[in-house]
Each structure stands twice: as C-alpha cells, then as structure tokens.
C-alpha cells in the first residue's frame, strides 16, 4: 500500500464517519429520531485511529515501529470492545 493510498484511507474513514454524524445531527435538528444513525457515525469516526494504525502497519518496513503500532492497535481495540459492550449490552 502506498503512502498516498494509506493516507487517503484514513481521511476517507474520518470523512464518512463525520458525514454520517452530520446527517444524523441534521435529522435531529428537524425533529426526527436519529440516535442509531449518530451512533453509527460515531463508531465510524472512532475507527479513524485504527485506520491510521493499519496504514502504518502496511507501509512501515522496520520491525520496531510495526510492533509499536501493533501494540497500540490491540490496546485501542480492547478499549473499543469494552465501550461497545457497555453501549449495546
């Protein structure tokens, strides 16, 4: 994966998440119920750091940075799993 593609993937994740959030907020502004849409947008938006780490893993050739990125990704996934369990459980 080239640096440009990786960078665009991160930006696209944030953009789509942000867009869904804005649509949800606009619906709320018009008096409609949009809690689920807003939650989907938030989840997509929170995926941005994961996309960033995936991009680092894809393009970084050195062992130590890859291991650091992997450790960060695992820690972040654990936090997200706990948050999802609390929200949906």
């Amino acid at each position: 994966m080239s640096a440009r593609v990786a960078s665009r993937a991160v930006l696209a994740t944030a953009f789509v998440g942000g867009l869904v959030l804005v649509v949800g907020a606009a619906r709320t502004l018009m008096g409609a119920e949009a809690r689920e849409l807003l939650l989907v947008g938030a989840a997509l938006f929170l995926a941005t750091p994961l996309a960033r780490n995936a991009a680092v893993l894809a393009r970084e050739g050195r062992r130590a940075p890859r291991l650091l990125a992997l450790a960060g990704t695992v820690a972040l996934l654990l936090v997200y799993a706990w948050a999802a369990w609390r929200l949906l459980g």
């Binding site: 942000g18 939650l39 938006f45 929170l46 941005t48 750091p49 680092v56 050195r62 960060g72 999802a84």
Partner: protein, 267 residues
C-alpha cells in the same frame, strides 16, 4: 439551529488555532462548548471527538512535511492511551465546577511551561553516526530525542490530562516533548498531532460508553474543526517558533481566566 451554527463557527476558529499549535484544539473547544451551554463533562466528550478530526487533517500535513516523528509517536501512544482511558473512567464522577477549576489550573501550567521554554529551547542533541530508531529532523536540522526512559510515566500523566479535560494531550505533550526529550518545538507539535488521534479515540470511546457525548454537537463542531485544523496545520509550518510559543501562552492564560469566571458562576 442557532446553537448548531454557533458551534460550527466557533469550532472553525478553534480548529485553526489548534492545528497551528498542534494541540488538537481541545483547550479552546471545551471552554467554547461550556459557554454555549454544555456541561463540562459533555464538552470534554465532544472535544475528544473533535481532537480526532483535527488530528486527521493536521497529521497528514505534519507527516508530509517530515516534521512528525512517527516512531516517537508510536512509542508514546500506549502510555497516553492508558492514562486517557483511566481518566475517562473517572471523569463523570467529578463535579462541574471542580472540573472547570482544574481545567483552568492546567491551562495556567501549560502557559507557564510554554513560556519558560524560551530560555533553552534549542538545546538540541544531534544524532551520532549510528542511526537511532527515534532520530528525526526539523527544519533541516537532525536531532535525537533524549531521556526516552522518562517519557513513558510522563506521557501517562499527559494521557490522564487528556481523558479528564478533553485536551487530547497535545497542549501537554508538546511542552513535555520539548522540555524532557529536547525535541524541537515544531517537531514536537507535529509529533503530538499524530499521537492525538489514538489518545482521543480511546478516551472518546470511554466517554461515549458513559453517555456523556452529545453526538449532534460533535457533528456541528466537526464541521468547523476539520477545515480549521487543515488551515492551522499549514500555519504551523510557516510561523516562527518564538511566535508560536508566545501566542500560545497568552491565549492559554486568557482562556484560563474565562474558565475561572465560568466556574465561579457554576459554584
């Protein structure tokens, strides 16, 4: 409608300032949202989401310019994350006025730390011939970060500040990287911008799980913060370091004073 427009416009200004100083904007966004009527803990939740937005735009610019030290950023992230998550778990138990007073105190400390760096900021250590994993370059000058063993506990503390006050850690991470690790100010700002995304993501998820993130406010704030952050990051690479430091310290002090006034109103 009026609230949404004010949030978006205010966040645009916050995004420019945050991107320029590599602080994610949280230290200015939280007071703005409190002024707009949100509870401090909700403002912190919104701010953490916006820190991700600012960081997305600003970090792509920071990485492209070569100022961001990605290896150093990856080293700091697990510690920032642990601190931010721990603080996020207790943030809902802190009273509104207490949170604001503590926020103001942190702002004053940040301003003082930034201003005090004027004395020996450029005391950089150049790398030896043997390449180091965390070596970087800033403005054409190569440097090697120092005291890497001290950084983890320091970054844990910075993460706590991030999770509790929604400031992403940049306002704390930038001065700490410069003071402790002797990273040039501009490289420290760029590196912290890259680190902020993960820190804010983890703390934001904790706040979301606690139900303290008004997601519609997040949406309006993002509309301003993201374009503002892109613009601010371009300013970061153009402004002289002395100007960055001075303006940042003054702004932080002014915002601290306004936060104290608001906290007095709440208590």
């Amino acid at each position: 409608m009026e609230q949404a427009a004010l949030t978006a416009l205010g966040s645009l200004a916050v995004g420019v300032v945050g991107g320029a100083f590599g602080v994610g904007g949280g230290i200015f966004l939280v007071p703005l949202l409190v002024w707009l009527g949100h509870r401090p803990v909700e403002a912190v939740g919104v701010s953490l989401f916006c820190v991700i937005g600012t960081s997305v735009g600003a970090s792509s610019v920071a990485l492209k310019s070569g100022e961001a030290n990605l290896s150093l950023s990856l080293l700091l992230e697990p510690f920032l994350l642990a601190g931010a998550v721990g603080a996020g778990l207790v943030a809902t138990k802190v009273g509104d006025a207490t949170l604001l007073y503590a926020f103001a105190a942190v702002l004053v400390l940040i301003a003082l730390a930034t201003a005090s760096r004027a004395r020996g900021a450029q005391d950089l250590v150049a790398p030896t011939d043997e390449p180091g994993l965390f070596d970087g370059s800033s403005g054409g000058a190569r440097y090697r970060p120092q005291r890497l063993r001290v950084l983890p506990p320091v970054m844990l503390g910075a993460g706590v500040t991030a999770g509790l006050f929604g400031i992403g850690g940049g306002a704390v991470v930038v001065p700490l990287l410069a003071l402790v690790a002797r990273v040039p100010m501009r490289a420290a700002a760029a590196t912290s911008t890259v680190s902020l995304m993960v820190t804010a993501g983890a703390a934001g998820a904790v706040h979301l799980a606690h139900g303290t993130v008004p997601l519609d406010a997040v949406a309006w704030a993002l509309l301003g913060v993201i374009p503002g952050g892109l613009l601010g990051a371009r300013l970061q690479t153009r402004l002289p370091e002395g100007v960055l430091r001075g303006v940042f310290a003054l702004l932080a002090l002014a915002v601290a004073a306004s936060v104290v006034l608001r906290a007095r109103g709440l208590s």
